[in-house]
Structures are given as C-alpha cells and as structure tokens.
C-alpha cells in the first residue's frame, strides 16, 4: 500500500500529472474575483473565506479525473484489482495521494492567497484550519465520484455534476466555521460537524468507491 502511494505521488510529480495546475487555478480564481466584484477591501474581507473555500473546491475538482483514468486506460487498475491488497485499501491510498498532491498544497497556499482578498487577521488561521480538516473529505468524495465514472469515455463533466452536490455539506460547514470564527461567534458546533463529515467520509466512502470500481471492471 505504501508502494502504491509512493508510485502515485511520483507519477503526479514527474509525469506531467498536473501537480502545479490545481494551485495555479486556485490563484487565478482568487485573482479573478476582485476583478468581478470590485476592489473595496471591506467587501473582499467579507467574502474572502467563502471565495477561498470555493476556489479550493474547484481546484480540487480539476484533478479528480486523473485519479483512476490513466490507470484504467493502461490496465494497471486491473492489476490492482487482482493484487493481494483489498480494493478498499487501494482506493484509500489513491485518495490520500490525491490529497497530498492537491488538498495539502491548496491548504498551505490559502493563507497566502488570503492576503490578496484582504482576509481579516484571525481569518488566516481559520481558513487554514478548516481547509486542513475539510480537504481530506473533498479528496475522498472526489475519489468516489471518479470511481463511478472511470469506465466512461467523456466522464469529466459528468464527474463534476455528480461530485459537486456531494461537496455541499463540506463547503457549507467549512466556510461557515471560518466565517463564524472571524466574526467572533461560537464556531465549535460547525467545526465539530465539519470534522465529523470528514471522518465519516474517510471511514465509509472507500467501501462505496471500491464497490464502484469492481462494478466498472466487471
């Protein structure tokens, strides 16, 4: 399983796997929003946590179809299915690799980009923390969506259509927690539910994703 993780990481870093692409996309979204809504810092500060969350979510979406597609095309997914490790474990490793190459860089970059959005002082910490807790759920849910659409020729658009509704609870609790923390309202409840959504997704979705992969390989 570790070998699989290392292999996936190496592939993303070396073989034009689009490691920097998600980050660049995230930066562009954050730059485009002030052009769209105007440069007043009061307005930007108000919408900053939401924009950072939506930007991170879209950047995460961008690389989802790479999780299984290449492996499906060159046949390594079939080899994985017959390998001695359970499919659930392989799927979890794929999600972890996706998080390490997409979710984690986005989380680290979000406070930097927050400067562009005149994010209020304590917002830096909270956008970082909520993304750190929330992005693993985004990767895992996305892996499930990718597993559903892996057999399709043009699954990319359908993948977004399937995954985006599933992202709603994570986005909502993540952005709401950051917003409440900035306003100084009680944030413990939403933060706990965000962590709960992530924990639940990580615990249960590998099984659903592995089932979908098995159906697609049948």
């Amino acid at each position: 399983m570790i070998a699989l993780l290392v292999r996936d990481l190496r592939l993303t870093f070396r073989a034009g796997g689009g490691f920097g692409l998600g980050l660049a996309f995230f930066l562009i979204v954050t730059v485009l929003v002030p052009f769209g809504v105007g440069p007043e810092s009061a307005l930007l500060a108000r919408i900053a946590p939401g924009i950072l969350w939506v930007g991170a979510l879209l950047a995460c979406l961008l690389s989802l179809d790479r999780i299984f597609q290449l492996d499906f095309e060159d046949g390594s997914l079939d080899i994985l299915a017959t390998a001695p490790i359970p499919m659930e474990g392989a799927v979890a490793m794929k999600a972890l690799a996706h998080w390490l190459t997409t979710g984690l860089p986005l989380t680290l970059a979000a406070p930097l980009f927050g400067g562009l959005m005149s994010l209020p002082g304590q917002g830096y910490l909270w956008v970082f923390l909520t993304l750190l807790i929330g992005t693993p759920a985004l990767s895992m849910i996305g892996t499930f969506g990718a597993a559903l659409t892996v057999g399709l020729k043009r699954g990319g658009l359908l993948l977004s259509l399937l995954v985006l509704p599933l992202y709603i609870p994570t986005l909502l609790f993540g952005a709401e927690t950051a917003r409440r923390a900035i306003q100084g309202v009680d944030y413990a409840q939403t933060f706990a539910i965000l962590a709960g959504v992530t924990a639940g997704s990580l615990a249960l979705l590998p099984f659903a994703a592995a089932a979908a992969i098995r159906i697609n390989l049948r």
């Binding site: 399937l162 599933l166 909502l172 709401e176 659903a208």
Partner: protein, 257 residues
C-alpha cells in the same frame, strides 16, 4: 442446520419476491393500474376543485393561498420519490431483481418533475407572500440541492451503456447520495434561518392550519400519492417493455447472422 434455516426463511418471503418477477410484475400491474388511475382521478380532481373554489381566502394570504394544494403535495412526492428510489436501489443491489432497478429509474424522473413543480409553484407563491421569487431559505435551498441530486443521478443513468452496470452504479450513487442529501438538508439550517413557517401539518394542534384548508389538502396529498404510484408503475412497465424489445432485437440479429 444453518442452511436449512436460511432456506426456510427465504421460503417464507418467496411469495413477496415473486411479485418482482418481471412477467408476474407486468401481469399484476396491468390489472392494478386502472384501479390506481381511478383512485387518482377520484381524489386529485375533487381535491383540487374543493381547494380552489370552495375554500375561503385566508387573512393576509388572498387567493394565492390556493397554490398550496399543488405546492405541498408535489413537494411531499418529490421527497418520497427519492426515498422510494433508495429502497428500490437497495432491492436491486441485494436481491438482483431487475424490477427494482427499473422502478428506481422510473421514480427518478417522477421525482425530478415533482421537484421542479414544487420549486416553480413555490416561486409563484413566494412573490406575493414574501415579495421575492427566490431566497436562500433552508427549505428552498434544500429543494434546489435535491434537484441537483436528481439531475446527477439521471445523468449517470444516461451516460452508461450497459444496463446492468448503469443499474449498479446508479444504485450506489443513490445510497451514498441520500446520506449527503440528508446532511445538506440539515446543514443549510446552520447557514440561514428561514422564511417558511414551522411544521404546519404536524399533529400538534396549535401550529396547524385551520380545518377548512386542512381537509382538501389531505385529499390532494392522498391523490398525489396515488398519482405517484400510477406514474412510477407506467414508467417501470415502459422500461421493462423497452428491455424486452431490446432482447428480442438482439435475438433476431443473432439468428440472422
């Protein structure tokens, strides 16, 4: 020992699962369908006429209150359709009855239509009542989310060629999706307080709407329930026939070759 007990248990339920045998399903639904259509006609039409023409206009609501007889039943059906879809999907995943998968597919379109009707009638009603066609009220938002879930589910059905793979994958999506749909339903409460009143159809007398409105509303609710059964049965029968037609075509092609 263990095996015989399992078989005995299965035997006890065989009469029930036999209803899902495609041939038997076609025959009993063919007989039951006219009855359900009749029940729909005698509940929906009088219910709507009663509601539209024979109830007084409520204080502060004017005549617009009457849209409730379409709005509430269709909203209820929209949620119910998703519930039926999940149950039918589970029947397909666990027992491999084709009727389960096809009923889920049939319920999705009915549910999507009901969701759209609820959203549109809600917008029409919202304008005179709240002064806006749309607001990010929790119930409105969760219906929009439900709409998105239905679209994703149906898009997945449409995208996959092999019918059994499509049935499997959409069933998995329906089960996982309902968990997230449920989560989203309660998540939006944290994010915005609503315009809708609290539970107005609960058995708690104090919050209830007055009897004059309540009675025709119950009649339309029951009627829409029958309407839902009728529509799902028709859709499922059509899907079964389409499946059978495809099998016949394939067989003929095999014989020609």
């Amino acid at each position: 020992m263990e095996d015989t007990r399992v078989r005995q248990k299965n035997d006890r339920w065989n009469w029930f699962w036999a209803w899902a045998n495609p041939v038997k399903f076609m025959s009993w639904t063919g007989k039951a369908l006219p009855w359900f259509i009749g029940l729909t006609v005698i509940t929906v039409i009088p219910g709507l006429i009663w509601g539209f023409f024979f109830t007084p206009a409520a204080d502060g609501f004017q005549e617009s209150v009457k849209i409730i007889y379409v709005h509430v039943p269709s909203a209820t059906m929209a949620i119910q359709a998703w519930g039926m879809m999940v149950v039918a999907s589970l029947i397909w995943l666990i027992r491999r009855h084709h009727v389960g998968a096809l009923a889920a597919k049939g319920a999705a379109l009915v549910g999507l239509t009901m969701t759209v009707i609820a959203l549109i009638t809600g917008a029409i009603w919202g304008e005179p009542m709240w002064g806006t066609y749309w607001a990010w009220d929790p119930r409105l938002t969760s219906f929009l989310i439900l709409f998105l879930f239905y679209i994703g589910y149906m898009a997945l059905w449409a995208a996959i060629e092999d019918p059994d793979t499509a049935a499997d994958l959409t069933s998995v999506l329906a089960v996982v999706g309902s968990v997230f749909a449920f989560l989203s339903r309660y998540a939006v409460n944290f994010w915005n307080q609503g315009l809708h009143q609290g539970a107005s159809l609960s058995l708690d007398q104090e919050e209830n709407v007055a009897d004059v409105y309540w009675q025709p509303l119950v009649l339309t609710l029951v009627g829409f329930g029958f309407l839902f059964v009728v529509l799902v049965l028709i859709r499922t029968r059509t899907e079964l026939r389409r499946r059978r037609l495809r099998a016949i075509e394939l067989r003929e092609r095999m014989q020609d070759a």
